[in-house]
Symmetry: C2
Subunit: 224 residues, 2 copies
Amino acid sequence: MHKELKDYLPFWDGLTAADKAALAGAADEREFPAGTVLHRGAEDCVGLMIVTKGRLRVYTLSDEGRELTLYRLLERDICLFSASCIMNSIQFDVLVSAEEDTAVLHLPAETYKAVMQRSAAAANYTSELMAARFSEVMWLMDQVMNKRLDERLAAFLLEEAELRGAKSLAITHEQIANHMGTQREVITRMLRHFQQEGLVVLSRGRVELANEAGLQALAAEARR
Amino acid sequence: MHKELKDYLPFWDGLTAADKAALAGAADEREFPAGTVLHRGAEDCVGLMIVTKGRLRVYTLSDEGRELTLYRLLERDICLFSASCIMNSIQFDVLVSAEEDTAVLHLPAETYKAVMQRSAAAANYTSELMAARFSEVMWLMDQVMNKRLDERLAAFLLEEAELRGAKSLAITHEQIANHMGTQREVITRMLRHFQQEGLVVLSRGRVELANEAGLQALAAEARR
């Protein structure tokens, strides 16, 4: 496993031979079919996951059962919060699910934590990882507080089309609401408005992007 | 400065003598009168601030000029984001202002960064600090997405009364709106409703908590 880990972990060369051996010895490959929820809050501290194929979605769940997508992890991204027990101060719960058939390199939390406590290189890399996720959440907070729903929805549809490499998205209004942290009815109303404006064409379980330039103009407001 | 730093930095004993000397030699005491904005986004990377007296407010500013309070830093808390340049991945801007006359121990960003890169103890402590702030922002995100404004406002007024040790708050509707990331008109409307319910008494530039138990019952919903 040395070769793969060296490829995925930028701090590899800064580790001692013993720490390299500890990580390589503990790592294993795991596969999750699309739809699997692979992490549910702090109580299951599965370990670090390096995405080698597919896509993970990291999201929160409110007391009322409403979801909000925080960010997605693509190939080569590292899922830190599935190992939230490596830090005492992570006092929040996220869920992680596979959006596509996904393969990961898995590192057990306790092994990673031990290496991090000995190695400044590993510890600083972990800080950078957390700062990157923090930045995504701060961007989202700005969106939620300060952007209009139509702008956020346009940005979401375009991002989704890019991720999937398709202009016709097999997605329900419920699923969109779960990404955006709002209610299905709110999304249905806005999508119908988009359809009237010629921006999308709706059919059962499907949203087709009909006017990408128009959506981009709207989304540009959200990105400002 | 050795003695103070040893007292405030839990990782002090894990540092080499050279790193202790570097930090102690670079640290200085600074004072900020109430109202001072001591950090404005990423471009001014002032350094780490350990609060020794007073209170700092960390907040964001939208393109439209709307503020949102992320959290407060009290005595012994460390302000990390005033040294955001110590990590490349911190891609967001916050502002920091003194809410009271505040004194800090200041550590220059470059000195702290150099120590952090050599010391796993310092790097791991910095990770924990960031995880603690991340947790506060995640709590706020849940509030903003999932709690009603009346519940949030009740929780805010109670927190404010506790911080100030007073039931009569010298605070404008504008200032409350800036904490909560909303518009003044929205706060004025809700405060008038609170007054009708006998929860508060309003006068010019002042909100008095008239029924703490009632506010607590409302706020309990937001804390759930």
